[in-house]
Amino acid sequence: MTILTIIIALIVLSFATYYITKINNQVGAYTTVVVTLAALVIFLLEGDKLSGASSIGILRFSVTPLAWFFSIIMLIVYSMVAFFNPYWMKKILHPGAYNMLFLLSLAGTIGVFFAENFIVMFIFWEIVVWASMFIIPFGKSRTASVVYYAMSTFGSFTFLYAIFMLYANYGTFVIKDSLEAAKGDANIAIAAFILMLLAGFIKLGIFPFHIWLPMAHGNAPDTFSPILSGGLVKLGAFLTILITTLLPIHEVTKDQAYIFGVPILIYVLMIFGAISIVVGTLMAIKQDDAKKLLAYSSVANGGYILIGILLYDEMALSGALIHIFGHAIASATAFLTIAAVSYRTGTTKMSELGGMIHKMPITYVVYLMAIISMAGIPPMTGFISKWLLFQALADQGMFFIATTMFFGSIGSFLYVFRPLSVLFLGQLKPEHKTVKEAPIGMLIPMVILSGITLFYGVLPNSLVEYTAKIESALGFDKVIETSALVIQGNNGDLHAPLITGIFAFGFIIALIIFLIAPKSRKVGLMDTYTAGEFLYTPSLYHAGYAYYAPFERLYQKHPNIVALFAALVQKVKDFGKFIRFVFFSRWPGRGVMFIILTMILLMWGEKL
């Protein structure tokens, strides 16, 4: 099985799915499920036996552990989300196009990961952009798609400029060779690094390029948001890892001043990551729409990932890779639960919902496990990555960046808890009394994803060992060490199964106490303490609107960066209007006047 055959098969199948969907929506949607599952199974079975041997002209692929890791994450997310597609076919205006672009974007991401040279990577990068860009407007916003395209393309173009700049100086497009050759000249290397990093920044959603994330992820169709947030932003992380480790940037910037143990350029870039964490967290706390909240949480998590990658320390990179894995799965799961709720109730605004646990208990448990992972609480995968990242920061002593990371970490408790409390718990609204649990086709993938998160939180060693393999493939001298069940860090060890074991032990003790004590009597939801008042409307009893109002008030008057970009766009439009007004009129006199003036200027200019 070669990568080229897989990608070509995916592209051909995507077009085939378009036609199948035209015949029958449901069959087309199930085709996407089958195709993505098949791809996942092939990747899992082939493992190292996948080869990049076959190629067409410049389309050449190379198989690396990093690429395999990212592809597996992508495939898990895509295949699990695909289970939701059949239920959404009747809600989307262009079902055929949706299924086709779904598979086409998957083909694009696999192409990006396994690309051997920059041209191939760029081709597939752009394919991902335009495939996903056309799905977004099927949801709630048309402008979101244009903003997504414009910002993403800005990054792509700086990336392209850097690719050609490296080619002009070193004569090769091959990723490994090109980047290694760049080590020779620090200026070119740093320029290329920053230009390419911009593409990674924008894709990952780092401040100040984060504004497209909430617009696109929040407004995309409910089944595509998990792919955007859990999957496609990780392309930015992939690019960042490649250029940070293959240059490697720490060697190139050796001669700069060092601050907290890293060159100053790296520290400045890490500050951007830190700001994203703070901005993402604060904005997420404010949101009423569950999807926008999760989108801002992706911004914050992008910050963690970026800091982990830029530190170039074996614990930090391992932490970043596990965080990518954990966040992809947890974020996809959270989005899927919101999609399930939206499927049954028709809305994602938290203030309009409440008490969903009584009707959708399994969805609730899935969401709970997802947010435990996102908040970084054991025994889920999120804890492992946070632990590794904190250890790495403590090792370096970067307390300013650590402050923001702690803030983001604790702040994440706030925003992940909000949908739990407002949407799932609390009082059930009367109009939702007939809501049923999500259909079985939706429950299966959600439970599988939760299971994965739990498994790797309790037994993370296989995951950590794979990150060690990736690190050595990327040229690290020292890789993260694990032994049996323990992860060894620089200043402490982590015994994940022990923590789970202790928690389970405590759980048993608490359960024993609970069961020994006398049984409680069940009462209805409205039967609560009201200091003597009688209330009959559940909605008055539900604390849902502006949940964190006191905290939000503290930063109400924050500067708005969206306004900055909107002003920039408006200036371009005004410039265009001005040109149209001056030069393009229907009176021949004006045209002739301009011709004469220009000719005079040209002739005078020639004489100078």
């Binding site: 067409i56 002209g57 410049i58 205006l93 262009h94 040279n117 041209i119 760029f122 081709i123 752009e126 394919i127 952009v129 335009w130 860009m133 056309f134 407007p137 099927f138 949801g139 709630k140 916003s141 048309r142 402008t143 798609s145 244009v146 395209y149 414009a150 393309t153 173009f157 392209l160 400029y161 050609f164 700049m165 080619y167 002009a168 090769t172 497009f173 407004n219 371009v572 439009k573 005004d574 265009g576 209007k577 040109i579 149209r580 030069f583 393009f584 229907r586 021949p588 004006r590 045209g591 002739v592 301009f594 011709i595 220009t598 000719m599 040209l602 002739m603 200019g605 020639e606 004489k607």
Partner: protein
Amino acid sequence: MIRPVLLVVLPLLIAFLSVMFKKQTKPLLLIAVLINAVVVFVIDKGEYIIGNHMQPYGIVLNVDNYSLYALIVLNVLFALLVLLNLAKITKIASILMIALGGLNGLLMTGDLFNLFVFLEISAIAAFMIVATNKKLIHVFNYMIIGIVGSVMYLFGVILLYSQYGTLNMNKMAELMTTTGTPATYIPIIMIFGGLAVETKLLPFNGWVKGVLGNSDSLVGPMIGSIYSGVMLIVFGRLFTDVFVLNDQVRILLSVIAIVTLIAGEVSAFSTMKLREILLYSSVAQSGLAVLLFLNGYGSIAVLVVFANVLAKFILFMLAGVMTNSHKKSEHTEYEHILNNTVDNHDDISTLAGIFVKNPLNGVAFSVASLSLASLPLFFGFFVKINVLYSMFLRGDYVLPAIILATSLVEGAYIIRMLVVLWNPGKEGEKATKEAVTSLNYEIDQLVCMVLLLISLSLVALGISPDLAIDRADEAGADLEYNISTEYVELEGGKE
């Protein structure tokens, strides 16, 4: 052994015949167009002397790879355009013949004054073709500016004749290289100005908005795609094969091209009217092609022109049809033609979601637009990659930045246009069938299929561009001062 002069003479002859046989204009037109489209594939390359007057005294027709490929594209597209607009061509069949003859002559001629003659013929035919859309003030504007341009060109030719004593292009090229830098470049600037009118450079292009902004499915592709392409090829021939510029003049003229590029993209970004977006995009692409020709990237410029011609053909034709949409309950198109009224729905938001009702047209339109926005899997992507590749190979770092910046703006407005046309609905609301516009238009099945085929060719070239790139390489090899000889393509690409 078919002489290329046939391509010019045959249409002109049939044009005169059609004046006499008024009833049979349409069939005559069809015969002429089809014969041209077939003959162009079998003519031989070489130099043809007209009327037995030897060079450099007589007129010469120059058919090398560069002209041949342009001729093929011109004749085939012209034939297609005529076949797809059978209803509209009855009145102007003779004019179309003259246009065809003039355009063919423009591409083949090897004599500067002959070029002027053909330029005038094509221009006058263009004026009359544009006049079919009844917006006479714009035609008038076009006429005045066009004539000013032609006069400037003639003036430049006269000065050159007095300087070098010959009008033959080959001889002129030879003399320019051997006699060193001339005292003044004014004639060349004059010729540049004259051609700048037709190739839509700023600020010579005041006419474009009126003409193309009110175009229908005949005028639009004709002026926006066919004429545009031919004029750019002619420009390329003159400025990359014949004239020798010094660096200062080159920079001056390049500034005009860059200004055009930027102004075109920015203007397109600021408007929400369908045809205006397309015409400003054409202006910008012309600026890009002129910039490439001036700086010696001949073969790449040919690629740019080719991609633009194909894409704009589809886009202008569809735009012309779409802007004649009407509500189902209103008059049909026949009543429009009878009553001489035209409902012009140009704004994109009134056409929101129209592709939901016309998916095949939507696919053709989308493919052409995405090729224009240079996204991969479409031909425009490889064109842009090669533009940047050539520039970086030559060590140019500023121009690529400008081209990428304008490309970003271009992509933004194209995507904005596409997204609205496919997905209706206010901001904040889901795209639903109910929000789709109630306007719709009628389009011939044949037109639909042909446009789809052309767009599929853009996809095929996008996946395997080697066919086009090799031809462009051969064409560029015929240009004297072409410097771009390496390309990024699928097979045997250079890394």
